[in-house]
Amino acid sequence: MSMFGLFSRRGSAPVARERLQILLAHERAERGQPDLLAILRDEILAVISRHISIERDNVQIKMDRGNSASTLEIDIEIPNAADLLVAARA
């Protein structure tokens, strides 16, 4: 084993501890109540799909639960073709 390997194998416990603290802070806050990020994700997608038909393959959703703030990133590819506009048809 290289010197680097030797050092990187050491002290994984502090990493475990920090990951657990962040995760459990979230899970405790969410306990008994619905998952805010998941609700936002579903409602945003529902609103958009009222206006255009979304191909599930063209939607990228990323969530990152951080210590003091979380991010929800929704990336939707909207084709330029006008016939996709549901609103126009309605």
């Binding site: 194998r9 050491r10 002290g11 994984s12 416990a13 502090p14 475990a16 501890r17 990951r19 657990l20 603290q21 995760l23 459990l24 899970e27 405790r28 306990r31 008994g32």
Partner: protein, 271 residues
């Protein structure tokens, strides 16, 4: 009136059944009347760990459903006086246990025994919630490992919300039992240490059971470690934990195997 103790964890394989058997024996050895109850319907194993697998006639489900009377289903331990086992059934029916049926059995056991120790199945499904439902005290068995600690936290949440005590606005008395602890690895920073686990879970510590070959040997033999090898490190740790359950103050140490010089020189094994 006896105390109802649930041994639970969320995660499987962390040592609930081993701990139920070892604590049950230790409490009975201290003169208490004890019944250990297997709630793992469909996957019973407490009978095997207790060495009573060939003596099971009736089980918890039979009693709950009224097929058998409680005294018919209780198995008396042949080695330890005042220790009894109520096995689970091997039925695959998930709804075999009803809440009212379990309530009745627990009420009857509470009247007969000082300690009713409920061995919870893994998970958070019906079996696990019924095992904790009527508990006064909970022992949450946790390995110093991320998935076990996370699941313990989840179980603590359930103990604070889904038990009868919680619904009445009371508290289940909760304790952490850390199992499979390797003090040397924790000292090298390779394993979560006791303070890490306690700080994260914020529950008082009942005991520290060191990683030991004696645990597998005990289940191989069907002889809980507190009977089979009372001088061993895990047995001493379980006896100390049982004393604390009874309210005694026992200094918290991590018992270790006493090794002779020859063991130290040649006792290291591969992997």
């Amino acid at each position: 009136m006896g105390k109802v103790l649930v041994v639970t964890s969320g995660k499987g394989g962390v040592g609930k059944t081993t701990s139920t058997a070892a604590l049950g024996v230790a409490l009975a050895q201290a003169g208490q009347t004890v019944v250990v109850v297997d709630f793992d319907v469909g996957l019973r194993n407490l009978d095997l760990v207790m060495g009573a697998e060939r003596r099971v006639v009736f089980d918890l489900v039979n009693v709950v459903q009224g097929v058998a009377k409680l005294p018919q289903a209780l198995i008396r331990d042949k080695r330890i006086e005042k220790l009894w086992l109520l096995p689970a059934s091997q039925t695959r029916d998930k709804d075999a246990l009803t809440e009212q049926g379990v309530a009745n059995v627990i009420r009857d056991l509470r009247a007969k025994f000082d300690w009713v120790i409920c061995d919870s199945p893994a998970g958070i499904e019906r079996g696990a919630t019924l095992a904790m439902r009527f508990a006064d005290t909970a022992v949450i068995v946790t390995n110093p490992e991320v998935s076990s600690v996370r699941d313990s936290d989840r179980i603590i949440g359930l103990l604070d919300s889904k038990t009868e005590k919680a619904e009445k606005g009371q508290r289940v008395d909760k304790h952490i039992l850390i199992t499979r602890y390797d003090a040397a690895r924790a000292a090298r920073g390779e394993m979560l240490n006791i303070d890490d686990v306690l700080e994260i879970l914020a529950i008082p510590l009942l005991g520290i059971i060191p990683e030991s070959e004696e645990i597998l040997r005990a289940s191989n033999l069907g002889s809980p470690v507190t009977i089979g090898n009372p001088a061993s490190a895990p047995a001493r740790a379980y006896v100390a934990a049982a004393c604390r359950l009874r309210g005694e103050e026992v200094p918290m140490i991590v018992p270790s195997e006493r090794k002779g010089l020859l063991d130290k020189l040649f006792g290291r094994r591969a992997a």
